[in-house]
Amino acid sequence: MRAKSPASSPRQPHLPGEAGVWLVVIGDLFIFLLMFSLFLAHVAIDRTEVAAARGELDQGLALLNTALMLSSSWFVAHAVRAGRSGRADLIPRWLGGAAACGVGFGLVKAVEWHAKIAHGIFPTTNGFFGYYFVLTGIHLVHVLIATVILLLIARLNWRDHAVAERNQTHLESAATFWHLVDMVWIALLALLYLLP
């Protein structure tokens, strides 16, 4: 049994999630853009220090976390499409996959931070590592909040599939916030780990 929704019509523009969530997301993106700009201004001040500090980062763990973040977005996008096509029974599985990626991301980040601290690298070591710990820390808080939200939505849909049809907007709002977390990580990978 497929549920009909305005989103199922390709000609009808559909806002995924609530407008308020989009305002938060776009506002958050501009705050992150300001922080990214401040970081690159710092890079320009002392490229030698930044190059040496960047060499201390573990690109392998960063790429592993990128694979987890991108895969999580793929899971979340499937959950939203499952809700729109009336397959609410699939939503908890897709969201569970995404939440597992979120937990995996947090564990990998913990391993990465632990290695830095074990080598005597702290936020106060130099400007680069100050930005590194602050930016990845703020991002990790976003990951943890988004993971909890996904699990709450999954639990809601697991208990009552009919809820999913009524709460499609909530699901889409949670998905929108999750994708924000993914996009911020994409930018952090480039800025902190990959720029020459």
Binding site: H14, W22, S37, A44, S73, W74, R81, H179, A187
Partner: protein
């Protein structure tokens, strides 16, 4: 749903591929400026793809398309300019206590 799943999977593979391209660019391109443009270009292309396909901005209202893709273009332009011409703004940044 099956066609949608294939489309989302193609996007995921493309995102992984762009990640690999940007990682290679950070290592193997001689010019620092060109490498920075490739790394940041790949990153913001990935962000645009997440907006468009995963967040379904593609099917959204015009204001949403303008806001999301506008931010993507603006952020890419500012960050590339800061990376390439950063030395010119460094004295100003120092005065600001950065």
């Amino acid at each position: 749903m099956h066609r949608v799943s294939i489309r989302l999977s193609v996007v995921l593979v493309a995102l992984m591929g762009l990640t690999l391209v940007s990682w290679l660019a950070g290592h193997d391109i001689g010019s620092r400026q060109i490498a920075a443009i490739v790394v940041l270009g790949a990153a913001f292309l990935k962000i645009a793809a997440v907006f468009w396909e995963f967040m379904d901005v593609r099917g959204g209202p015009t204001w949403l398309k303008a806001a999301t893709l506008g931010w993507t273009g603006l952020a890419f332009s500012i960050l590339v300019a800061l990376y390439i011409y950063g030395e010119a703004v460094a004295p100003f940044a120092l005065r600001m206590g950065l």
